[in-house]
């Protein structure tokens, strides 16, 4: 997601202003001059300054020129980049009701197919990888992973 420096700089200015404003509203510590507000306010003003400089294009000359991407284009185009965070959201929501093995298998299968894997490779990976990860984390490291609909064989 490439956006102009004007937009990112403006966003940083807004974020800095919000940080400084919310920071200034934090309650002071009785009997002390310096409270929890000091640090966020300094950062807020710093971000506003940096945001302004970026929006004005200052410092751009230090950046290396953008390299043109070579080779064939990915099959899902630019929208494919949202699949990994979406799958993490899916994991957070589904791992309790569905269980680790099923959730992880769906996650690996979808990510594999999105990356252009053939079903002949994607399915075995989606079956074996969750089992190995479960074995490593649940049995060896004692991380409590949810059983859900399909419990692990161990």
């Amino acid at each position: 997601m490439l956006v102009t420096d004007r937009i990112t700089g403006g966003g940083l200015m807004a974020l800095g202003a919000a940080a400084a404003w919310f920071g200034s509203r934090l309650p002071a510590v009785p009997g002390q001059d310096v409270g929890p507000a000091a640090f966020p306010m300094v950062i807020g003003f710093g971000l506003m300054g940096c945001g302004a400089l970026i929006a004005l294009g200052i410092g751009q000359s230090f950046e290396p020129p953008e390299e043109a991407e070579e080779g064939p284009k990915p099959r899902l185009g630019a929208s494919g980049v949202l699949i990994p965070p979406a799958l993490l959201l899916f994991y957070a929501l589904a791992s309790e009701p569905l269980g680790f093995l099923l959730t992880a298998a769906i996650m690996v299968l979808v990510a594999g197919l999105a990356l252009g894997s053939r079903l002949a490779i994607a399915i075995p990976v989606a079956v074996v990888a969750p089992l190995l990860v479960h074995l490593a984390f649940y049995k060896l490291l004692r991380v409590p992973l949810p059983e859900g609909l399909i419990p692990a064989p161990w």
Partner: protein, 500 residues
């Protein structure tokens, strides 16, 4: 002598030796896969270290990072795709050697000089850190504040992008570190009523998100790299002794530069490799051969990036200020395991320090046999389809971040940081500066607020002590440098225009 023997005993424990071996294999495999950096390899290991003894935990971080920095050279030499950014400086050179039929020589040089660099870097760590610890013991919160700020500023100065964007990234990291109740006043800040944010944002989900998830996102948006043809390698180390004798001086210069860059807070192995490769070309008797498959730059830069890895632990162990992103992760592990960084670590936990040195040496020694096996297996490992590796990495990101606190909120955080890291990288904002901001935020604030309370809100004591004023001058120069450089460029450009 007693702490040294105790150090040996700690390292020779079965769990530590298994941890070293397993993390060596892991580091070699992950580092050799294009796109998976040494930092990412280390970040994914952190959840595993929760269940290990303190020495085994530190051993996994040291070994995996050293191996990954070396094995990043393998796809660089064979495919012209650097496995880790630290190999990028000399990838073209190594690939040119492969095309000349000298793949064994290029890969062997990467391995041999990485191991030498790692050992020399460790010796510097052994000599420098205890000597500096004496000085560090006299530091007050003022010096620590400036040192932390200087570390952050160094990180922004060495970033290969606009310094203003790097400073903005660092400030964003510091703002993220403000979230939660972990501030000197214990007041909830920027939690927006979300109970999960009361404990603050741990560096681990942030690290895993910006380094690993964003890499999977990048893989989704780019085409699969070319496959490596199957081939058999000849002797890997056959001509390395000859190279060592011939390029003795560049090798030592690479080691020295690597150590200096490693000790600077914020500058890591990537920077060491770039600087050393450039220096090698500059001082070479045959600069015209560079880029055509000439091993001199490989010798110097290969030694440099591994030397910087060990010396990067100097500021981390002494002050808790990371030398690079890998030591930023290591600091988290040190705190988690009760080995709180600071000068007292050298006096109160001397045996642990010796254990750490021994692990460094051991990791660099086993790098040679394991590295040879890895090079021989490269044509098999590098043929692993990215569409099979990346989904497993994504799964490890989810489970690993969940394991940090048995909390699904961390998985969501990893996703959010993945998006943030991806967008930042795309727009020229360095993510390493963001991570250093998150890691060092609470330390910087703690020292800032404590110093202000001590001085009754007066800023003058920040500049009164000699070391403090020196560090302040360095930090402020680093802060103002981008603006000064920009003004200088504008003035010289307008002068040229007038003259033209």
């Amino acid at each position: 002598m007693e702490p040294l023997l105790e150090g040996f005993r700690l390292v020779m424990a079965t769990d530590v030796l298994i941890a070293i071996f397993a993390s060596a294999v892991y580091g070699l495999v992950v580092g050799s896969l294009p796109g998976l950096s040494a930092t990412m390899a280390t970040a994914l290991l952190v959840p595993v270290t929760f269940w290990l003894s303190p020495i085994a935990a530190i051993a996994t971080i040291i070994t995996a990072s050293a191996m990954a920095i070396f094995s990043g050279d393998i796809p660089g030499a064979l495919l012209r795709i650097p496995g880790t950014p630290a190999s990028a400086a000399y990838t073209d050179e190594a690939y040119a050697m492969t095309r000349k039929g000298q793949a064994e020589l290029a890969l062997g040089a990467g391995l041999w000089f990485s191991a030498i660099g790692g050992i020399v870097g460790t010796i510097s760590l052994m000599l420098l850190a205890p000597a500096l610890a004496e000085v560090a013991l006299s530091f007050s919160t003022y010096e620590y504040f400036w040192l932390a700020l200087l570390g952050l500023m160094c990180a922004t100065l060495v970033a290969r992008s606009s310094p203003i964007k790097a400073i903005a990234s660092m400030l964003l990291g510091l703002l993220i570190a403000c979230i939660g109740m972990e501030n000197p006043a214990g007041t909830p800040r920027f939690t927006f009523g979300i109970p999960d944010l009361l404990g603050g944002i741990e560096p681990i989900p942030a690290l895993v998100g910006v380094f690993a998830v964003s890499e999977v996102m990048r893989a989704m948006a780019s085409a699969e790299p070319p496959k490596l043809p199957k081939r058999k390698f000849g002797s890997i180390l056959a001509n390395q002794w000859g190279l060592t004798k011939k390029y003795q001086w560049p090798m030592w210069r690479g080691n020295f530069v690597g150590i200096i860059i490693g000790v600077l807070p914020g500058a890591g192995a990537d920077m060491a490799a770039w600087v050393s490769y450039a220096m090698s070309k500059k001082f070479s008797k045959e600069p015209e051969k560079f880029g055509t498959g000439h091993p001199e730059g490989l010798v110097e830069a290969g030694a440099s990036n591994n030397a910087s890895l060990a010396s990067g632990w100097v500021p981390s162990l002494l002050f808790g200020i990371p030398g690079d992103t890998i030591t930023a992760i290591a600091i988290g592990v040190l705190y988690m395991k009760g080995l709180n960084p600071g000068p007292t670590l050298f006096t109160e936990r001397a045996s642990s320090m010796y254990a750490l040195y021994i692990i460094f040496i051991l990791a660099n020694l086993i790098m040679i046999p394991l590295g040879i096996i890895m090079i021989r297996l490269a044509s098999t490992v590098l043929r692993a389809p990215r569409s099979a590796v990346m989904p497993v990495i994504l799964l490890l990101c989810a489970v690993g971040s969940f394991a940090t606190g048995n909390n699904l909120f961390a998985v969501l955080l990893v996703g959010v940081f993945g998006i943030l890291g991806f967008v930042m990288e795309k727009n020229g904002y360095p993510v390493a500066a963001l991570v250093l901001g998150i890691v060092m935020g609470s330390m910087l604030e703690q020292n800032f607020v404590t110093s202000l309370i001590k001085s009754d809100g007066d800023v003058l004591p920040f500049f009164e002590r000699p070391v403090s004023s020196f560090l302040a001058a360095l930090s402020i120069s680093a802060l103002l440098w981008p603006l000064a450089a920009w003004i200088w460029m504008r003035v010289s450009r307008s002068r040229r225009r007038v003259a033209g």
